[in-house]
């Protein structure tokens, strides 16, 4: 865990033990793989249960998905084993692959529960819900929604507009979009990030938002 300049990673004892088991031959390796696989399944089950309320993946389906996540994480870990430099404990590094697999599989699973969600349907009526309900200021709010709509039309690229609409207006989970469009998470996040910034600048330039309230 200590930064160092040498080529050979300096590992804490437990991590060194993992690497030596997984790079050994014969029975030692088999035993290491089995032990790691057991841990990965436990982490996958725990993570899927933690996200059960929002994912609605439960019971046998959850167990099945946990085994798939652990198996896929295992492949990724073994494939990237020589990139582990000991910047964290080995198990932390390994568990990250499981957590990422869970997110990816839940992103794909979303479409089984919501097969009719349209990415491009622009239901602007829903937008005010994102701003909270403020009964005394109906006219002002309608005005603001129109301004956001104009900002989306006038300042965003087609790509940014599509992703902003899906995520912010239609509230499709980001990882579901990643799976549907075959993009990576970073690309989707970046497009929506840029869209947010552009819309905000438009609203400031047109007097709808206050510039002084910069950032958070």
């Amino acid at each position: 865990m200590i930064p160092h300049d040498d080529d050979a990673p300096v590992l804490d004892p437990a991590s060194a033990e993992w690497i030596s088991a997984l790079t050994a031959a014969g029975r030692d390796r088999e035993a290491g793989l089995a032990r790691l696989h057991g841990l990965l399944i436990r982490v996958a089950v725990h993570e899927l249960r933690r996200r059960e309320a929002s994912s609605a993946v439960t019971g046998a389906e959850l167990d099945d998905m946990a085994h798939q996540c652990a198996a896929d994480a295992m492949l990724a870990i073994l494939d990237k084993l020589d990139t582990f430099r000991g910047e964290s404990r080995f198990t932390t590094w390994a568990y990250k692959f499981v957590v990422l697999e869970v997110s990816s599989k839940l992103g794909r699973h979303y479409w089984r529960r919501h097969p009719t969600t349209l990415l491009d349907a622009e239901d602007w009526e829903r937008l005010p819900d994102r701003f909270g309900v403020d009964p005394g200021e109906h006219a002002e709010r309608a005005d603001l929604v129109k301004a956001v709509q104009r900002a989306v039309e006038e300042t965003l690229t087609d790509h940014q507009r599509r992703l902003f609409t899906a995520i912010v207006v239609n509230q499709v989970p980001l990882d579901a979009l990643v799976s549907q469009l075959g993009l990576n998470r970073n690309a989707v996040y970046k497009a929506v990030f840029d869209a947010r910034r552009k819309i905000r600048l438009f609203l400031i330039a047109n007097g709808y938002l206050d510039e002084r309230r910069q950032g958070r």
Partner: protein
């Protein structure tokens, strides 16, 4: 909070935000630091900014932290 403030929140972006790719690349180090009470946010302010703003990466971070601290 009125709707204007809510809109501000929906549209807020932090210039320090490093994005998903970098945050994920550092996530195991970040989680280990938090798990051992080190000031990860000070060491990696761009990751902290990202995890606060990005739902999915924040979720992955929570999951990883639980896996690590549960000693699974």
């Amino acid at each position: 909070m009125n709707h204007r403030e809510q809109l501000e929140r929906v549209l807020a972006t932090d210039p320090a935000d490093v994005g998903c790719e970098q945050a994920i690349a550092l996530l195991h180090m970040y989680a280990d630091m938090i798990a051992t009470d080190k000031d990860a946010a000070r060491e990696y302010p761009g990751v902290a900014a990202h995890l606060a703003a990005c739902g999915p990466c924040g979720e992955d971070f929570q999951g990883l932290l639980e896996a690590v601290t549960a000693g699974a």
